[in-house]
Symmetry: C2
């Protein structure tokens, strides 16, 4: 499991929340022994964009942990009642103060060790009116030769950028669906 | 919002959980006024498969609500610590007793009104050894001409099958990314 176990039942407030497999299920759940409520936790979607302006990519320097000071594509947790595309545009506006036109879904990355799925969209920057949001220290456009590969925040970001610059040589951008496992969990 | 509001704080058990926008946020959250814990809720991924055997599609007749008795592709909520492909295979095994080989991601459907994202994979049935799981009344293979279009459980399923039979004419199956809104929320 990757979630923080409930200390109290969200339905009745009891502290008798136990972890076991319910009848007819085959996954361990957090079950309230007082009222029977089962707390379900599921993977979260991280949605974001690869914003392009005249061949350059917009990156944000993180002003928050984890990976404070490292560079990332604008991305964050998808919110209720939005579409994937809405989420990608919202995160780009929040983190980079930038407006985008979405081209299409690009990378779909399962991160089973932390129960996240990244979904990043190719996009065109609408204009050069961007600025660092509250979660960013800086926002800047990078040529391929300028990408700070050793200062990128996450493997999801380096994986996406590597695919992008490779696919750009052909001009064909198929959806790239992959699994990224934490190195410590990969069996030799 | 689409989640059921917490009646008690999952961290401290207080019943003083209020819905408001936290400082520095722009979404309404469920905040505990006793301990300050913020309860986050995010969209859920429904993962599943389009299992094919000699041109026929495997469908399951639902033994559970909603849409009891209607036909569906094997699909369900993605679980923690699995990949999207693992989830598609697990749901197919659970609901149809069937093993599949995944061909690739096919439909990506945002359902903002219910905060779900469907991700369905094209797949080959490994063999004809399938049977109804506990959540299915029946499992069967359907030719295109036999698909019970009026008895399908969800629009996500009919949308995916329509794309599949259309794309099959060319043999090219691009990832189909769409938004499905509840008819009552679509402005004329």
């Amino acid at each position: 499991m990757t979630h923080i176990a409930p200390r109290f039942c969200i339905q009745c407030g009891s502290d008798r929340v136990a972890q076991r497999v319910p009848d007819g299920d085959d996954h361990t759940r957090d079950i309230c022994d007082a009222c029977g409520h089962i707390h379900y936790f599921n993977p979260k979607i991280v949605v974001g964009a690869v914003p392009i302006w005249q061949g350059k990519v917009l990156l944000c320097k993180r002003a928050i942990e984890p990976r404070y000071g490292k560079w990332t594509l604008p991305a964050g947790f998808m919110e209720e009642n939005e579409t994937l595309e809405d989420g990608a545009a919202r995160e780009t506006l929040e983190e980079a103060g930038a407006r985008i036109h979405i081209d299409g879904l690009y990378t779909v990355l399962s991160l089973p060790d932390i129960s996240q799925v990244y979904m990043l969209y190719r996009a065109q920057l609408a204009d050069l009116d961007f600025h660092a949001g509250t979660e960013s220290l800086d926002v800047a456009l990078f040529d391929e030769s300028q990408i700070p590969w050793d200062e990128l925040a996450f493997r999801t970001i380096s994986t996406t950028l590597r695919h992008y610059f490779s696919d750009r040589q052909t001009g064909i951008f198929p959806v790239r669906s992959e699994t990224l496992r934490h190195p410590s969990t990969v069996k030799p």
